[in-house]
């Protein structure tokens, strides 16, 4: 063996060792990823068709809607807040978008004679309305000092009420083909997954590479530190909630595209799912700790779980029980990373 090859082998060994160690580090740090992988392995052994490309895309698509909401929730919870209104905001922005995206034949009772509008109209409407509602949330809690729980709980009820009034309680359907295309695929990849991916990247950059992102961490980690460092806390809180509301609007578009109709009662309880995904992903309600990848993994844990339980043919009642247990266990395993050897 020449010296060179020996060196190469050594390097390789070292690389292997390092890679291994890095992998262990990652697993320890990212315990929840480990849980996700375990779940995937377990389900695939029992049901090999879990790993078909089609099903994988299904799982991703299914996680897209509350996953997008979880992205916004990550900012909110990292800033030590909570947003209970996202489910209702999805419904309200969704019905408004749907009413602007109906096919001309279903000439809507909303805007008679307006005809079919380009897709950008409903999209912008949902996104802007979502951001506006979020900004109201943020403004309320930062200027009056009421707890985020109350501000967004109020908004949850209010937005739902407006969705009901806007629609009279009936779903809005007959969306334009362009709209429902958003629920389809581009090549093999489902468009909801593409949209989700774009939102992940945007949110990641926002949280990690902008001053705004640093402010989010500082506000949640130590609001006094933020204040004495001259961070405009009020303005940033408004932006945080506006972004969260905006993502609820994006989720509404994906929802409408996928389902082809939006019901004023849609997405009831999704706020809890989004918060759960965020929390499973390690974002702390004590503020200052939160990651985008955590929210993505958390959302995946939930959708893999639901998909898996269905594939396994678990009885509907038991699905609830097992889902509850696995969420708890997943977070317990994830917690071990913080376990301090006393």
């Amino acid at each position: 063996m020449s010296k060179e090859t020996a060196e190469q082998t050594m390097n390789q060994n070292e690389t292997n060792g390092k890679a291994k160690q890095a992998a262990i580090e990652i697993l320890k740090k990212y315990g929840i990823v480990f849980v996700l992988i375990l779940m995937i392995i377990g389900i695939s052994i029992l049901r090999p068709n879990f790993l078909t490309p089609n099903n994988i895309f299904n799982v991703l698509t299914q996680s897209a809607i509350f996953g997008i909401m979880a992205l916004g929730m990550t900012l909110v919870i990292t800033s030590k807040g909570i947003d209970l209104s996202v489910g209702s905001v999805l419904a309200l922005t969704g019905v408004v978008a749907a009413s602007l995206g109906q096919s001309a034949s279903a000439t809507s009772k909303f805007f008679p004679g307006l005809g079919e509008m380009p897709l950008i109209v409903p999209i912008l409407a949902a996104v802007l309305l979502g951001a506006l509602i979020g900004a109201i949330n943020g403004g309320l809690l930062s200027y009056t000092g009421i707890p985020p729980f109350i501000a967004t709980l109020g908004m949850m009820t209010i937005a739902r009420g407006f969705a009901l009034i806007y629609t009279g309680g009936s779903p809005i359907s007959s969306l334009t083909p362009a709209f429902t295309r958003l629920g389809g695929r581009l090549g093999v990849v489902p468009i909801p997954v593409i949209i989700y991916g774009i939102m992940i990247v945007i949110t990641w950059i926002l949280l990690n590479n902008t001053q705004f992102g640093k402010n989010v961490y500082a506000i949640g980690g130590n609001i006094k530190a933020a204040e004495v460092s001259g961070v405009n806390v009020k303005k940033n809180l408004i932006l945080i909630y506006a972004y969260c509301g905006m993502l609820a609007g994006v989720a509404a578009i994906v929802f409408a595209g996928r389902v082809g109709s939006v019901h004023p009662g849609a997405a009831t309880g999704y706020e809890l799912t989004a918060i759960a995904a965020t929390t499973i992903g390690g974002t702390s309600h004590a503020g200052g700790i939160g990651t985008v990848w955590g929210a993505v993994v958390g959302a995946l844990v939930l959708s893999v779980l639901r998909n898996g339980l269905t594939l396994l043919g678990v009885h509907a009642y038991w699905q609830q029980i097992i889902e509850g247990m696995i969420i708890v266990v997943a977070v317990i395993i994830d917690m071990r990373k913080n376990a301090r050897k006393k």
Binding site: F50, G168, V259, Y317
Partner: protein, 300 residues
């Protein structure tokens, strides 16, 4: 549908002489079907110069009781109630009887086989019948062999339980028919869609039919099937909503079951009106379900 909504309720109830007030307690106005029932009630009231006050219990039985009691306190002339939980209507019945106000239950029957007590009425149908109709229609179209998935509503809802029971009652008579899965889509279209996607992975070509407890979930299933390029799976819903009728016409939905919800609300209010005027309408009024397929969809 919303147009008439705001107006009727906000007027001072029972204030002026002559104008009768009907208290209407809905189980859940978030439920499309229930908005049709409420529309029926409102239409009757408007046509007959009655004031109607609509309350929404949002699926909370205690809240419904509170609302009814408050309306009694406020002095309505008659009550129309869509029960949240048919087994829990005792206190409401008692309260109405005590106050001497006629009470009409609509859409969901708290009395089962029994006769309602004096001054209490029922207008509607038996949920289980809708389930049976779906089952029968399915056997007719699919034959006596096949694998079925059932999309249930909220698991604790009577409609979900009875309709599913009706499905099973019929299907169990055919040894060749197999129920692959029963899961809840919580009445929602998006959840019906996700479940169907998962079923397609789990059962693939084995899946021959989907019976949904309502049209919203059925339409979600249709969407998932179309996306997967499957046109061989029969899907059936309940309610005959406009979207569903459209889908039946287009052939993507095999059948739905019409429940004349508008008619129930309308009739319920009429009976309440009659009783409040001192007439004695019949205590039980059945408004039957009708199966809707491509053959008869144009009639509705």
């Amino acid at each position: 549908a919303c147009g008439g909504g705001g107006g009727g309720g906000t007027e001072a109830p029972a204030a002026e002489e002559g104008a009768m007030t009907i208290g209407y307690a809905s189980s859940n106005l978030n439920d499309t079907g229930q908005t049709f029932v409420a529309d029926g009630a409102r239409t009757y009231a408007e046509a007959n110069g009655l004031t109607i006050q609509v309350q929404d219990a949002q699926e909370d039985v205690v809240r419904q009781q509170d609302q009814v009691k408050t309306m009694i306190e406020q002095g309505v002339d008659a009550l129309v109630v869509v029960p949240v939980d048919t087994s829990a209507m005792g206190p409401i019945t008692d309260a109405a009887q005590e106050a001497g106000i006629p009470l009409v239950y609509v859409n969901r029957n708290p009395f089962g086989e029994d006769q309602p007590p004096e001054g209490v009425y029922y207008v509607g149908s038996q949920e289980i019948v809708a389930g049976r109709m779906q089952g029968e229609a399915l056997v007719e179209m699919m034959g006596e062999e096949g694998n079925v998935g059932i999309l249930m509503g909220i698991l604790s809802n009577e409609g979900a339980i009875k309709r599913t029971e009706g499905n099973e009652e019929i299907l169990s008579q055919y040894p060749g028919i197999n129920i692959l899965a029963k899961e809840t889509g919580n009445w929602q279209r998006d959840q019906g869609m996700s479940l169907t996607e998962n079923w397609l992975t789990a059962y693939g070509d084995d899946l021959n039919a989907i019976l949904a407890n309502n049209d919203e979930m059925a339409l979600g299933a249709v969407q998932a099937l179309q996306a997967a390029g499957r046109d061989d799976v029969l899907v059936m819903g309940v309610d005959a909503t406009p979207d569903a009728k459209e889908a039946v016409k287009g052939g993507s939905l095999a059948a739905t079951v019409l429940q004349d919800l508008f008619g129930q609300g309308n009739m319920g209010t009429e009976i309440a009106h009659q009783a409040a005027q001192g007439n004695s309408p019949s205590q039980l009024t059945w408004i039957d379900f009708v199966p809707v397929t491509i053959d008869n969809v144009d009639e509705f």
